[in-house]
Symmetry: C2
Subunit: 423 residues, 2 copies
């Protein structure tokens, strides 16, 4: 097969991508867990998500895809290739959402994957390798923390036995929730863990403002920035707001505020590359007339450069100690994920395809974590982003344009077909 021939085949497949069909499926999926504000509450392994899975399996079977799952409730929909013994190409994302999430987030990448196989089928092509459209279990981590749970287990980064005991706020363990999903009818064949895909593609909304600001239809993701997370506990002493002089207080809120400001100042960078967030800050007893005895707060620190991330993250605990005033402080690091860079040759391929299709594009770094992080360690992995309105995400107001969704699926269709036919 010549390069010229491949190129012709690719543009043929892209032309079979049907933007209306993709959009209709996005709207249909958004009915599962729909919220009044236009978003969705479809958290991992919830009844809303179970209902969505059943509907998706019906869609898949109607177009000849073969559904299956694994013990982590990752959902696979297979378009069988000519040689089913070869490792398949995976394409997809996730269908779970935040409690007040948008309807596009992971849903777009998953449904773009379905549109890719629809386009390949419509073009009358049976690829050499099979294609599995995949929805990874619990990417968001809102009901069961941490997120990216299904892809972590699939890739071997975590073991099933380690996630089984993790509980949601109601005390339900992951194991029980998984059993409920896996027992849902119709029950699906169970695939083993431990196999390596030929490649993985994930499309996603950007969740940031860059593509919109740069007026580009698509971003080829260079990599995912590194992330370190911490939990800081500040312990003071409960006291009466009216009677205790400042001089005798050990006010946990005063100390925590002092620490947060010190961290902010120390981690400030002129170029605005460092991402430093205190998103959770919980006070006890949290009563207006009681001096706070305890504050627990989160630190989310991200940077695309591994050395800088290590250097800045290593300053967190000492800074907390220096600024604790008269309180005790305990700092625990929960996560240290180094930055990663997707393979250059697939990024180049995505860029070439996008140019050939006349779709404006740019290279873009991912600020958010994605399931692609874990797949990257076991197979060639790539991501594309499409713009989302004003960069708003994890919010019911999340919004994308049909033309961008369509363009992303067209690039994806080309790239997936190309890889399925590769040696």
């Amino acid at each position: 097969m010549t390069k010229a021939h491949m190129h012709t085949q690719a543009t043929v497949v892209a032309s079979y991508v049907d933007g209306d069909r993709l959009w209709d499926r996005l709207m249909a999926l958004a009915r599962f867990g729909a919220l009044p504000g236009g978003g969705v509450n479809r958290q991992a392994l919830s009844s809303e998500e179970i209902a969505a899975r059943a509907e998706i399996v019906r869609w898949a079977e109607a177009i000849g895809l073969v559904p299956s799952t694994d013990a982590a409730a990752n959902l696979f929909l297979r378009l069988p290739g000519r040689d089913d013994s070869l490792p398949p190409v995976l394409v997809g994302s996730h269908i779970d959402s935040q409690p007040t999430g948008g309807k596009f987030d992971g849903a777009y990448g998953f449904l773009a994957g379905i549109e890719v196989v629809e386009a390949i089928r419509s073009a009358g092509i049976q690829p050499r390798r099979s294609i599995d459209v995949v929805a990874w279990m619990n990417e968001e981590g809102s009901r069961f923390a941490p997120g990216m749970m299904g892809s972590a287990v699939f890739s071997g980064a975590r073991q099933l036995v380690d996630i089984y005991p993790l509980k949601d706020a109601a005390g339900v363990p992951v194991q029980a929730a998984l059993e409920q999903v896996l027992a849902a009818k119709p029950s699906l064949p169970l695939r083993p863990f431990g196999w390596k895909p030929h490649a993985f593609f994930e499309a996603h909304i950007e969740q940031g403002p860059v593509l919109e600001l740069e007026r580009k239809t698509m971003g080829v993701v260079s990599g995912i920035q590194g992330k370190r997370t911490f939990r800081v506990e500040v312990v003071g002493e409960e006291n009466h707001a009216g009677t205790s002089p400042r001089g005798v207080r050990r006010d946990a809120l005063v100390a925590a505020v002092n620490i947060v400001q010190a961290l902010q100042n120390a981690l400030w960078d002129k170029d605005d590359i460092v991402r430093f967030t205190v998103g959770m800050f919980t006070v006890s007893p949290n009563a207006p007339s009681v001096v706070a005895a305890r504050v627990t707060f989160s630190i989310d620190l991200r940077h695309p450069d591994a050395t800088t991330l290590t250097r800045l993250g290593d300053r967190v605990a000492p800074l907390c100690q220096e600024h604790r005033l008269r309180c005790e402080v305990n700092v625990r690091e929960l996560l240290h994920d180094p930055p990663l860079e997707f393979p250059q040759h697939i990024r180049d391929k995505l860029m070439r395809i996008s140019n050939a299709l006349g779709i404006s594009n740019m290279e873009i770094a991912s600020g958010a974590g994605h399931d692609a992080r874990y797949l990257h360690y076991i197979c060639p992995t790539a991501m594309i982003f499409i713009p989302c309105k004003a960069g708003i995400s994890h919010n019911e107001a999340e919004s994308i344009q049909k033309e961008h969704a369509t363009a992303g699926a067209r690039v994806l269709a080309e790239a997936v077909l190309d890889l399925t036919n590769a040696e």
Copy 2:
């Protein structure tokens, strides 16, 4: 009756105060709502408090006191005087507690009141005026805010219809909770509002460290410092911690921390007289990977000088606006209680009695608010404090000494009897 005769009578009554009996009642009352850490959770109008009320009524009837209540569920136990048509002398405090409160707080002042009438009865004296031992409803304000609710309604500072719709965290309105208490068996005669007591005495634990530091057994309270409370709402925008650059964020937590530090700096005083507390600080959505959209925090500001309190309190809203960064900020003032000074002649009387009994004493200002605040506006009112260990209060570790409790009740017995016999 000559002055010499009165003095003799008074010291007689003090000798009938039984410290063991008082202590036993403190321990018995502490079983209602008892917590494993030695404190109590006996919040206003709760089932624990209803059970405590029933037990107290049994104690009262056993010693010949006449129980009654009013529509605000203030509880009165009357020792009838020789002339029941005269306005009675009131003595007491409250029996409700914070969620993790100590067992002495208001309970001491109420049970000291019972001990006062026990001593007067034991001495074989029937006073001229009746004495009502009183437990004011909801002093703490932890279940239903604001506190001092019963004394506020009794004194006319608030109307019953204004407190009826106020709800607890479970959505139960004060009205429904009051009905439950008033319907409890045995049902008590209902007294009207609008009458003025002849005088009110309240004993209380200090809730601060001064008496212990000064090694005094009793404090005669000069007055209650003024208090202004505010609720500050900081509104930013929810965003993704990984993707949104600092430059586009409107981070409500960053702004709130900035405001709290600015307030702290601006309200700092060398002499440590200003009481400035941010005890409640609630973040939304309070998720580690989400930039905070909203922070609501409380400000509790107290000062014994009316002019200073006004001046400092008036700076709060402008300071919040100046330091809001890119967020919106709304400041509501919830309360402005000016400082008050109890009448000098009753304070002098308490000091004379204390000296006559050989009880070490000092004048002391109250940092905390008390039901005496509202009674002060309708009748001559006075307070005494006894020491509490290390000034710790609103805490299960709250602790007092039996000798101090006894000494306080002895002074109170003298003062109450003196006033009941006054013209």
